[in-house]
């Protein structure tokens, strides 16, 4: 039993080390993904633009649910006007980056893993190596940077959509005064402390999700089963990474 624990520990450590070296290699080769911007743009299209629908719709519904639930609780204390504050702060600080990150991991991260994994299984990566095209620079780096660039944009859109959803439910449906909804929100949301910190969070999540996705894809066994296992692992690992990182970042950012 102890042997099993030991083996697991060593294995995890080893994988972390490989991942860190892979990250270094990726950063080393990422110059080309900006010199050949076309490749990165393509990846922004695939992981960012095609995720728009799910992000916008989820943002709208999360905001609407926040509006309803927040109203239910706040009206007991006779302070419905702070609904705007509640919706905006919870979206901008937490729900926007985290939920957008989770959706991004399952929508785009898994697709990137499957794509790279399949390229490896069909030996396209090996073929590239033979033609003296570095697969890390040609395949991995653009996908990584595409994800890193898309993620904050998606999180911002999620938050904006959520605030709009909260407005729809709070002001249009329930009938809270529109002026106090916005003014209470503006009085308590700070650009530097809330919005910029939210953006920083989403950039960190973007790096984490994209790194996990490309690494798992690059690291698959070249079989159908291996690709499917890697895809699952991407979603699980990056979701856990998002939640863990979120706790760490929050405890640094919003301590006082």
């Amino acid at each position: 039993m102890f042997r099993l624990v030991g083996a697991r520990t060593i294995n995890t450590q080893w994988r972390l080390g490989v991942m860190a070296r892979f990250f270094g290699l990726l950063l080393w080769h990422s110059g080309s993904s900006f010199r050949r911007l076309r490749l990165t743009l393509r990846e922004i299209y695939f992981s960012g633009v095609l995720s728009l629908t799910i992000i916008l719709i989820s943002g709208l519904f999360v905001g609407m649910v926040l509006g309803l639930q927040g109203y239910e609780t706040l009206q007991r204390y006779g302070s419905e006007e702070v609904l705007g504050t509640l919706v905006a702060l919870s979206l901008v600080r937490e729900l926007g980056p985290v939920l957008a990150g989770l959706l991004f991991a399952s929508r785009a991260g898994s697709a990137v893993t499957a794509e790279i994994g399949l390229m490896k299984a069909t030996e396209q990566l090996a073929a590239m190596d033979m033609m003296a095209v570095d697969p890390v620079a040609r395949v991995v780096a653009p996908r990584f940077w595409g994800g890193v660039i898309s993620m904050p944009i998606l999180a911002l859109l999620f938050s904006a959509m959520g605030v709009f959803g909260g407005y729809l439910v709070g002001v249009v449906m329930i009938g809270i005064d529109s002026g106090s909804f916005w003014s209470q929100m503006q009085a308590s949301v700070d650009f530097r402390n809330d919005i910029v910190n939210g953006v920083i969070k989403s950039v960190v999540f973007g790096v984490a999700v994209s790194l996990v996705a490309v690494f798992e894809g690059f690291d698959t066994d070249g079989t159908a089963e291996g690709v499917s296992r890697a895809t699952t692992r991407t979603v699980v690992t990056s979701s856990l990474a998002i939640l863990g990182l979120d706790f760490i970042l929050t405890s640094f950012m919003f301590r006082g």
């Binding site: 922004i44 299209y45 633009v49 901008v92 904050p152 944009i153 859109l157 605030v163």
Partner: protein, 156 residues
């Protein structure tokens, strides 16, 4: 998928993201109105600040004229020293009176400034001398109860 379509969609995507940031900054975060122009700082000492927090507003006649920058304890006199960033457009007389008020019954606390009649104005870095502490509800209640208890038997 040809190149120009991808370019178009990425362009739309990035523009939407920028618009969302502008929306959050202006409409939600009020970046435009929250900034204090050419600020100068004042300090005020209070015996008790209650629940006053940094970044709380400083108001005069209900208008926001500054924000609290920092609060710390003076080790010699055991008083709270509150540093205020005042809007450069407003100046106040030297004998301005600073009180800690609460907006609404449960609202956040802020500093209210009531101007006096001194011809000289407060200069950057000056100390507001006349201050009134926050009202502590427990003290108020106990005062009320003791005074009731003291007068109770006499009126009977």
């Amino acid at each position: 998928m040809n190149r120009t379509t991808i370019d178009l969609w990425v362009g739309i995507f990035v523009t939407l993201g920028a618009l969302a940031l502008v929306f959050l900054a202006l409409k939600v975060g009020n970046l435009s109105g929250g900034q204090i122009r050419s600020p100068y700082s004042l300090t005020a000492n209070f015996d008790n600040i209650g629940g006053l927090k940094a970044r709380a507003p400083v108001k005069s006649a209900g208008v926001v004229v500054g924000r609290i920058q920092e609060i710390h304890l003076d080790k010699q006199h055991y008083q709270a020293v509150v540093t205020i960033q005042m809007d450069g457009r407003y100046t106040f007389p030297k004998d301005t009176f600073a009180t800690i008020n609460t907006s609404g019954l449960l609202g956040e606390q802020y500093i209210g400034l009531e101007p006096g009649g001194d011809p000289d104005d407060l200069k950057p870095g000056d100390v507001i001398k006349k201050t009134q502490s926050a009202v502590v509800l427990e003290k108020l209640i106990s005062q009320f109860m003791f005074s009731k208890a003291a007068e109770g038997p006499a009126t009977k």
